[in-house]
């Protein structure tokens, strides 16, 4: 009888064990740096997941951008390469304040129902996202797998972007709050996919890489 009761109890408690999730499957629990960083990110994410919203988690350790809601990974985007000016400025919760404008087509009344909608291919591939507190994320497309002409165009755009970044860095008043920069290289499709999924005011948390 007692055995039955224990079995019954176990049957009901099992689902709660099953809900234990590996938030960071790559985390080495014996590495203090990794553990502290993961704990910091989890503390930030808990604040975001407690509210009905979608948010971004950029995991630089695993080179992945996650679109999340309530702690669930809704979609992920692989990062090909990244670089940053300072890892300290990536801490905390950042809110998206500026993103590239979406070019929308206007419906002409009475012209019929099948007017050309916007789609992923209409999204930009090379853009800058501004976050508050001061953080700018530059997204550049990877030229790998592109044709020669397309590669030249993309490289030209990336060069122009770098020049603009440098000019802006040179002309910035250094006495004001420093802006942290994060540069992400994504595939063309993924850069467009990220641009599509962004929402004004969207929150961002970044997990920084740690010493192994």
């Amino acid at each position: 009888m007692n055995l039955c009761a224990i079995f019954f109890l176990l049957a009901f408690t099992a689902p709660s064990w099953a809900r234990d999730i590996e938030v960071f499957p790559d985390l080495n629990l014996k590495n203090t740096s990794e553990l502290k960083e993961a704990t910091r990110v989890l503390e930030e994410e808990l604040k975001l997941a407690a509210r009905p919203q979608t948010y971004l988690l950029i995991d630089l350790g695993r080179s992945t951008i996650h679109i999340k809601g309530r702690g669930i990974g809704l979609h992920h985007i692989p990062i090909i390469a990244w670089s940053t000016s300072s890892s300290e400025g990536l801490k905390g919760i950042h809110r998206l304040v500026a993103r590239p404008p979406v070019v929308r087509r206007k419906i002409e009344p009475g012209a019929g129902i099948e007017q050309e909608p916007i789609s992923l291919v209409d999204m930009p591939t090379d853009y800058v996202l501004a976050f508050n507190p001061s953080l700018s994320v530059t997204v550049v497309p990877s030229v790998a797998g592109e044709g020669l002409l397309q590669s030249a165009v993309l490289m030209g755009k990336a060069g122009w972007r770098t020049m603009k970044d440098w000019t802006s860095a040179l002309l910035t008043d250094h006495s004001s709050e420093p802006t942290s920069h994060l540069r992400l290289t994504l595939s063309v499709d993924h850069a467009q996919s990220l641009a599509w999924s962004l929402v004004d005011g969207m929150a961002l948390v970044i997990r920084r890489p740690t010493a192994k």
Partner: protein, 216 residues
């Protein structure tokens, strides 16, 4: 001669200014994955500190998992026009949908006043479940077709265009059926989420009022 000197001195001045800026500016040091400026933390002096940290991490992970829906939820990918019903990690239903076209339509008489036909992104809840819903056509449906907006509410009602079921998730947005099944998989709607009859029936059966809808 004077004409030539002026631009030359201006150029020299600009060059000097740029040189000064370069000298005073802090060179951005780049951190790359190949040579990461990894976050360094002082090591714990004893194992007790590490164990406390591990326990804290586990508690936080548990708290995060408790925020996840423990019932089936609806996930909508507006870029790829897919709707999933998921229960934890398991996909219970996978459907091709149509979501917002992202187009705009001017409101009559308004300056900078437009309808934007996007499917809203974020987290929502199923607020209503309807069978054999009637579409109460909003103003934009008439204006888009170049028709006058009727004054009589009865003239707005249209039967049979939303399919057999509709699930409302607020502000006039619904998951519903469609007559235009050939357009499934494309961004063609005014913000609602369209499904074919079978998938709509499946979603209607699986979802309850209060079921979370995650849209990205």
């Amino acid at each position: 001669m004077r004409r030539l000197l002026l631009p030359t001195s201006a150029a020299v001045l600009l060059l000097l200014l740029l040189l000064l800026l370069v000298m005073t500016a802090r060179t951005p040091s780049l951190v790359t994955p190949e040579a990461p400026q990894a976050v360094q933390q002082p090591p714990f002096r004893d194992n007790a500190g590490l164990r406390t940290m591990q326990a804290r991490y586990k508690v936080l992970s548990k708290q995060l998992s408790q925020l996840m829906p423990n019932q089936p939820y609806i996930l909508v990918d507006t870029a790829r026009n897919r709707l999933y019903v998921k229960h934890q990690e398991q996909v219970v239903l996978d459907a091709i949908a149509s979501t917002g076209s992202g187009t705009i339509l001017d409101k009559p008489g308004g300056v900078n006043n437009q309808w934007v036909f996007d499917t809203p992104r974020g987290e929502f809840l199923v607020k209503s479940k309807l069978t054999n819903p009637t579409w109460i056509k909003p103003d934009w449906a008439f204006i888009e077709e170049g028709l006058a907006v009727p004054r009589n509410a009865a003239d707005r009602a249209e039967q049979g265009v939303l399919g057999e079921y509709a699930l409302g998730f607020g502000q006039g947005y619904f998951i519903h059926g469609t007559l235009y099944t050939r357009l499934l998989g494309r961004n063609v709607t005014h913000g609602c989420i369209r499904l074919n009859d079978n998938d709509l029936k499946g979603v209607y059966k699986l979802a309850r009022v209060g079921t979370p809808i995650m849209i990205f």
